[in-house]
């Protein structure tokens, strides 16, 4: 149960980018997990070369990822959104991006499992009889911090509110004096920047290879959809639900079914209540 909660915090961190980009901007960026893995490798490289802490690296790299995200969005915008044919071909576009990132990584760094070192890996604290691993606790806390930060960004800043509004009514947003394309660029950049940190968290928790992204495509979108498409609080709740479900399945019914259960939940949710659990 506790493990599930911790895992949930981490899942939330991983899914925030999708929540923002897919949930709020309606851009089906299925390459997001690949950006996360890119973040993992950035953390790995810095950790190996300079002994820099993974999560610190993740934080330091957010501006780089922000710019990367902004560039990708501009390309996407010029190629698809402006022509008004975003959905299907955009999806394929990001599928291609996913592959390019994945393969570039394996060309550069090979396919060995990569991990990082940090003082807190392998240690745990005892809380009321339940040992809590720092390796999971730290990402969970960072994940919560990210969730909070994003929540504050969205609800307290002008840019954030504009991001929430942009997919609801572009024209009305322009009437507020905001440029939707610029807002989307910012939001996309932030989403990808979140991937930098999420990637760092990922490599802290488990070893990573370039193809690890495939394990997360489903989880990320499941969480986003369950969470109600773009609701930050919903994302957190859905992430925790998924984390707890996986943990409980592992503990009580045999771990081999845990993934199927997560996706079973997603399928049912999609079929019965497409607006998600906390859909507005």
């Amino acid at each position: 149960m506790v493990a599930g909660l911790l895992l949930g915090g981490f899942y939330a961190a991983v899914s925030l980018g999708v929540s923002l980009i897919f949930g709020l901007l309606d851009i089906a960026n299925i390459a997001q997990p690949a950006f996360v893995i890119l973040g993992s490798y950035a953390a790995y490289v810095m950790n190996r070369s300079f002994g820099l802490d993974a999560i610190l690296t993740g934080l330091l790299f957010t501006p780089v990822f922000y710019v990367l995200g902004a560039v990708v969005y501009r390309l996407y915008y010029e190629s698809f959104e402006r022509r008004g044919e975003e959905s299907l071909r955009g999806l394929v576009f990001f599928f291609g991006v996913l592959f390019i990132i994945e393969v570039s990584l394996s060309l550069k760094y090979g396919v060995d499992y990569r991990l990082v070192e940090a003082a807190y890996i392998g240690k745990s604290i005892d809380l009321g009889g339940v040992g809590i691993a720092f390796r999971l606790l730290v990402p969970c806390l960072v994940g919560l911090a990210m969730t909070l930060a994003l929540h504050l960004f969205l609800s307290r800043t002008f840019y954030g509110r504009a991001v929430m509004a942009v997919s609801q009514d572009r024209l009305a947003l322009r009437l507020m004096g905001a440029d939707p394309v610029r807002i989307k660029t910012i939001a996309f950049g932030v989403g990808i920047a979140a991937a930098s940190l999420a990637g760092a968290l990922l490599i802290t928790i488990a070893p990573v290879v370039p193809s690890t992204d495939r394990d997360y495509i489903g989880r990320m979108f499941a969480i986003t959809v369950l969470g109600g498409m773009g609701s930050i609080a919903g994302t957190l709740v859905a992430a925790v639900i998924l984390g707890v479900a996986e943990s409980l399945m592992s503990t009580f019914f045999g771990p081999s079914w845990s993934l199927a259960v997560s996706f079973g939940i997603l399928l049912v949710a999609l079929a019965v209540r497409p607006a998600g659990l906390l859909g507005r």
């Binding site: 002008f158 009437l175 507020m176």
Partner: protein
């Protein structure tokens, strides 16, 4: 001092339309739907690009050409629009909608004051500020739309069809509010409206637009009310 002169000729919807609104005036743009009122307002906002003609904003003796500017910049110049159909952000709360209205950098400093004013003018919005905009009734939504436009501290307010989809009693209240706000804020108002009687209640003067042409210019409310064109074009007599 502010002097909008919009003369333009778009091939399809508007044909050589010229209107002007002087500072402090309330001007009504009358006509039934489909005659080009909304298009005209959209042209001013830069949402629809005129194919010919000019739209100017004159401020303190400087003329600013609006035709080549994107909507965002036009908003930045102090022109706010209450769009037809309200176009709120239905999945945001009332307060979030209002705060978005203050996106314009010049308005950000005045948020507290403007918000207080909006809540005072529309007490219902204060009561419902945590509610999602989409879940409110039509009248409340229209109030919110007007309030949201005011949050940008505009000098000129363009109102497009404020009465659409509202029960008669609500139309009355919305129109009344616009008048009240205009006076308190020293706004210049250009209102497109099909509800003739309601619009002429608050307008200083007005234009009747039919099939994309200005068919009649009434220099006073009186002149408008007495003109028979009104009935002819409204009911096709």
């Amino acid at each position: 001092m502010h002097d909008v002169d919009a003369g333009y000729g778009a091939v399809r919807v508007l044909h050589h339309v010229s209107i002007e609104v002087r500072e402090g005036e309330t001007v009504a743009l009358l006509g039934t739907n489909g005659n080009g009122k909304s298009t005209l307002i959209k042209c001013i906002m830069g949402i629809v690009r005129p194919e010919a003609g000019e739209i100017f904003l004159e401020t303190d003796g400087t003329r600013v050409d609006l035709t080549k500017r994107p909507t965002e910049e036009i908003v930045g110049l102090g022109i706010a629009m209450v769009p037809e159909g309200r176009r709120l952000f239905p999945k945001l709360t009332v307060q979030e909608n209002l705060l978005l209205g203050a996106y314009r950098p010049q308005a950000r400093g005045d948020i507290a004051r403007n918000l207080a004013f909006c809540f005072e003018a529309f007490p219902v919005l204060r009561a419902r500020r945590k509610q999602l905009a989409g879940s409110m009734s039509g009248g409340e939504q229209q109030m919110l739309a007007v309030a949201r436009a005011l949050m940008s501290s505009p000098r000129i307010l363009l109102v497009d069809e404020p009465s659409v989809g509202l029960a008669p009693i609500l139309v009355n209240r919305v129109i009344g509010k616009i008048k009240e706000l205009k006076e308190r804020h020293h706004l210049t108002v250009l209102m497109a409206e099909q509800n003739f009687n309601q619009a002429t209640k608050i307008a200083d003067r007005g234009y009747i637009i039919v099939h994309g042409k200005i068919e009649f210019e009434g220099h006073s409310t009186q002149e408008l009310r007495e003109h028979e064109l009104v009935k002819k074009y409204y009911l096709g007599v």
